[in-house]
């Protein structure tokens, strides 16, 4: 026995993929041609797995803002928010986020992972309870495990199951944090947030919603599922990321609870890491502004989502349960999923290969994410690639 034994299953999968000549994990993007096309592992592809929902990564205003910030503020802050790493730009972004979400308080984190993991690990500790949706993201599971609260799962997107589990808590509900996501990252399905909020109103507790995959997509202002469901007042904390709709990196938490300003200095993933680089903050601020100025991007995104979803469904593929900018195709056989991923790449479509335990079931997924920047022709090329792969059986 050695420390390395536990990594052998990973090494075995790596060896298996290498023998097949396939590199789905850590595929190398060699050149970006635009926000929707690139050279990946030597193939020119339509990017259909980059979470670049609004397609803002090459937006001139974002690029200019980032360049200006580098010239004026340098390449990095070289310190944590709690020490020397809070620049006026971080504070401005926090104020702009609070204003956008119509909340009193906001915290900016260095990554979305740090935001979700940090809030999950800090809000509830030993003696407290966390009740989370079973399909929650790894950053949520990591956070709640670190925090030491009692962690109880409820069945995915099942408010009646949540009701049952909250009822069992009795008086412990006063120390309970409920965690759900707005749109789930793997299957793209939305949380039934109105019903979940109703259950929360019935029993109590605090509610945290991760809107990482729904920012800029839903609600009148693009604030996400909570806004679309009309239950923002029931949501105590919204967390999310700048690395998807806003095309940068970083995370946030917004809340109306005045305690957030004290909580800020208890979050280890906020205190013990360097703050986001000035260029990242600058492009995020520009993208946040553009997202509000261009609501038509949301319409384009959803039109593209419908086009891809319908196209893949019409091929007879097992697509996710509902239309969303995340469209997942379930492939039961792992080897078939690997083969399809590889051949999709060869036929000009980059998607994400998701295998258990990253997928929510024991099946594998070919996960697509749509961008507002995709043209109809590009969406059709993605569908064509699936069709070609479906109708051929051998590696070309």
């Amino acid at each position: 026995m050695s420390l390395f034994d536990k990594f052998q299953p990973i090494a075995d999968i790596q060896a298996e993929l290498q023998a097949l000549g396939v590199m789905p994990f850590g595929a190398v993007t060699e050149k970006l041609l635009s926000s929707t096309e690139a050279i990946v592992n030597g193939h020119q592809v339509i990017l259909a797995g980059t979470n670049n929902y609004l397609g803002l990564t090459f937006e001139p205003e974002c690029l200019e803002a980032a360049k200006k910030a580098i010239d004026e503020l340098g390449t990095g802050t070289t310190g944590s928010r709690m020490a020397n790493g809070t620049f006026a730009e971080h504070v401005a972004l926090e104020n702009e986020l609070a204003e956008f979400f119509d909340r009193k308080h906001s915290i900016v984190f260095s990554t979305g992972y740090a935001a979700t993991m940090g809030m999950g690990s800090t809000l509830a500790g030993p003696g407290d309870v966390i009740v989370l949706d079973a399909d929650s993201h790894a950053s949520i599971y990591d956070g709640v495990r670190l925090g030491g609260a009692d962690v109880i799962r409820f069945r995915h997107n099942d408010p009646a199951d949540l009701d049952k589990r909250l009822r069992r808590l009795g008086d412990r509900i006063d120390n309970t944090l409920i965690i759900v996501e707005g749109i789930y990252s793997m299957m793209g399905d939305q949380a039934p947030l109105a019903e979940i909020a109703e259950v929360k109103r019935k029993y109590g507790g605090l509610l945290l919603v991760d809107e990482a995959h729904s920012l800029g997509m839903l609600g009148e202002h693009g604030r996400g599922v909570a806004e679309a469901a009309g239950v923002e007042d029931d949501v105590d904390f919204v967390v999310g990321t700048f690395s998807k709709s806003l095309g940068a990196i970083g995370g946030y938490c917004v809340s109306n609870h005045d305690q957030l300003n004290a909580i800020r200095f208890a979050i280890r993933s906020y205190i013990f890491t360097a703050s986001p680089s000035p260029s990242v903050v600058a492009s995020t601020r520009a993208a946040l502004r553009l997202m509000q100025e261009r609501p038509y991007l949301r319409d384009q995104l959803w039109a593209n989502a419908h086009r891809l979803y319908d196209g893949l469904k019409n091929l007879g593929l097992q697509v996710s349960p509902e239309v969303s900018p995340v469209v997942a195709v379930t492939i039961k056989d792992r080897n078939q999923a690997i083969d399809w991923w590889n051949r999709l790449l060869q036929h000009g479509a980059y998607v994400n290969l998701v295998m258990p335990p990253a997928s929510p079931t024991d099946d594998s997924l070919l996960r697509c994410s749509v961008s507002a920047a995709h043209s109809e022709a590009q969406i059709d090329r993605i569908i064509d690639a699936f069709s070609t792969v479906q109708n051929t059986t051998a590696v070309d």
Partner: protein
């Protein structure tokens, strides 16, 4: 309140489909290494037991659970019998 044996009996019931040919289900059966439960199936086992006994079973107990006995004992500790 159920006692250890009731927890044990229910766990055996839920695990029956996992007792493949040649594997005898008993208190010493190991959930992952012997019965081959995936992490997802372990979570589902916990959910089923929560619903059957109408109790809360925090995931925090899982690192200490290897065998059927460990699980029955953990449930009894969480929800002691009379």
């Amino acid at each position: 309140m159920p006692d250890y044996n009731e927890y044990l009996e229910r766990i055996f019931d839920v695990l029956k489909p996992f007792a493949k040919q040649g594997i005898l289900l008993n208190e010493a059966s190991e959930l992952v290494t012997e019965l081959g439960l995936t992490s997802l199936q372990v979570m589902e086992l916990i959910e089923q037991l929560e619903d059957h006994f109408d109790m809360s079973i925090p995931l925090n107990i899982l690192p200490d659970i290897r065998t059927v006995h460990d699980l029955a004992q953990a449930l009894e500790k969480l929800n002691p019998g009379s």
